[in-house]
């Protein structure tokens, strides 16, 4: 039953994860184990160091970075970088610190990112769930053929549809709008449909039959039974979709021209091109980078276990 992610993932996925039998760990500390741990610690350091370095640089004062490039702690601790990102400095102050003179519309970009990611996630997950329900639980002619056709869509790489989709969005007059950025992935992705169908297939017939006997309609069964019972995989898919759309750059770059539709990833690129090429405003750039990354890091902290455990299942991306 789909009440908890872990067992569902374990049984319904193409990769059957065996969690019942953890391998016996040889506990004695020998040379090989020590070597392995050294390697893992190195991996952990390399994974996390850049995050620390963003923070350390963001908290440094930009002009002091040149002298103290080797210091592991912030040099001349200052919140100036963050102030520039949030537009709390005057243009002259920013230029003096090596930043761009223009105001940075950070809150606008954050708002845009939230709107786009929420639109995509809400639409994609809901519509994909509806389709998945039709493919998993409803009886209709040509069901398998249509589903196979959907799956074939997995084969088309994103790059290929980007240019024609841009032409389409332009013809619809949606260039430089948030809807224009969200639209192509708002209705479905073949992966989302496939992912949810797997779970819906696993829900027992009896529960559904009982509800139908009681006079519930199929629509009611979907909303009152299937969705609540699949809350765990739906949340997982929603989180993964949110992260992916938050981090999307290429498509957003194509569609947005002004602050009206600029999302954080695109704004970050613009911010970088605004700072002087000769002596970039590294503390400002790192403050912006950290601030742009923060929402997803917080989301990860909240749902780390669920995200980590679902990766094995989401293999077919």
């Amino acid at each position: 039953m789909a009440t908890d992610t872990t067992p569902t993932v374990a049984t319904a996925g193409p990769v059957a994860v065996r969690r019942d039998a953890p391998p016996a760990e040889p506990r004695r500390l020998n040379f090989g184990r020590a070597l392995a741990w050294t390697f893992m610690i190195l991996v952990i350091l390399v994974s996390l160091f850049p995050f620390y370095w963003m923070l350390r640089t963001a908290l440094s004062s930009n002009n002091a970075l040149y002298a103290g490039s080797g210091s592991l702690l912030p040099v001349q601790t200052s919140a100036g970088g963050f102030e520039r990102v949030f537009g709390l400095q005057t243009g002259q102050e920013a230029i003096d610190a090596g930043g761009a003179g223009q105001a940075i519309n950070f809150w606008r970009y954050l708002f845009n990112s939230v709107v786009v990611s929420t639109l995509i996630t809400a639409g994609q997950v809901f519509f994909s769930a509806m389709a998945a329900y039709a493919f998993a639980r409803l009886q209709w002619k040509h069901r398998e053929k249509v589903f196979a056709f959907f799956l074939a869509g997995l084969m088309i790489p994103a790059i290929f549809t980007l240019l024609p989709n841009f032409v389409l969005i332009k013809q619809l007059g949606l260039v430089d709008t948030l809807l224009g950025i969200a639209l192509p992935t708002m209705f479905m992705t073949p992966f989302a449909v496939f992912f949810l169908r797997q779970f819906f297939l696993g829900i027992s017939r009896e529960v559904e039959e009982a509800a139908l006997m009681d006079g519930a309609s199929k629509v009611r069964v979907f909303f009152r039974l299937i969705i609540p019972m699949s809350l765990a995989p739906i949340t997982t898919l929603a989180i993964l979709t949110y992260i992916a759309s938050w981090n999307e750059y290429f498509w957003a770059l194509m569609v947005s021209y002004t602050d009206r539709s600029r999302v954080l990833t695109v704004a970050l690129g613009v911010f970088k091109s605004q700072t002087p090429q000769t002596g970039p405003d590294w503390s400002g750039l790192m403050a912006a980078t950290l601030v742009a990354a923060l929402p997803m890091l917080v989301l990860f902290m909240l749902f780390a276990k669920r995200i980590v455990n679902s990766i094995g299942f989401s293999g077919i991306k």
Partner: protein, 306 residues
Amino acid sequence: MVTTTSIRSAKSGQARNGPRDDTRLALLFILPALIGFGVFLVWPTLRGIYLSFTKFNLLTPPQFNGLDNYVRMVQDPVFWNALKVTLYYVILNIGFQTVLALVIAVMMQRLTQRTWLRGIVLTPFLVSNVVAAMVFLWILDYQLGIGNTILAAVGVDRIPFLSSSSWVIPTIAFINVWRHVGYTALLIFAGLQTIPETVYEAGRIDGASEVRMFRSITVPLLRPILSLVLIITVVGSFQVFDTVAIATRGGPVDSSRVLQFYIYDVAFGRFQFGYASAMSVALLAVLVAVTFLQYRLTRAETSDLA
């Protein structure tokens, strides 16, 4: 009302104990997805192929010009260079990433199965390519980057990571490995979990070493998941764009001008959408061929774990 009738027919169907038919309701349920699928996936695919045979600048309607774009492509040295650079990147990126991910996955399985370790390794995946590119642009800066400071401390000469034509592609590959290796390792880790521990016990009783068991048990039994991972990551890495767009914009000279960046440049820098489409068709063809080849070579359909 579509819904009521279909529900009624479904119910009566059940009452007859015959096969139920929910066609109308099903159609209603897949309609949004079908619209998205048709309008933003199928139609663009067909249109992209059509546009590749036209001269199109976005402002005037596309003009059919036959194979002109393809002829131009075959004669365009920048295209061939972009293809070469992309291939070089893919090979470096995939080689490095797969080996590293495999090692990390095995270590995670043998050392500790705790979530925190997997969480840490996955953390870089949470940030965008743009963020990753920016951080490493700073860490690997020639003058001030901590990367070069560390190198200097151990007595290695400074390396112009992103400004030398021989270092730039390996550096971009490294940045993307940093972001993606945790994800790949977790996919492989999930595959490792499917190998029954009894196989290892048998190996241990026979006196096999860890290395021997890795070679003779883990790798062969992991083949299906490895080939799946390879197909996903190869297709993904052919589409490298973000890092190049942020960190180098194709430079120095053309040494990091990957195909996708060139396509973008031709389309949005010069408004030659027809030619850009032709190159996307070429990229699609390469991807299909690579996927097919990989599938055959790795015998993805067969598993030793019957």
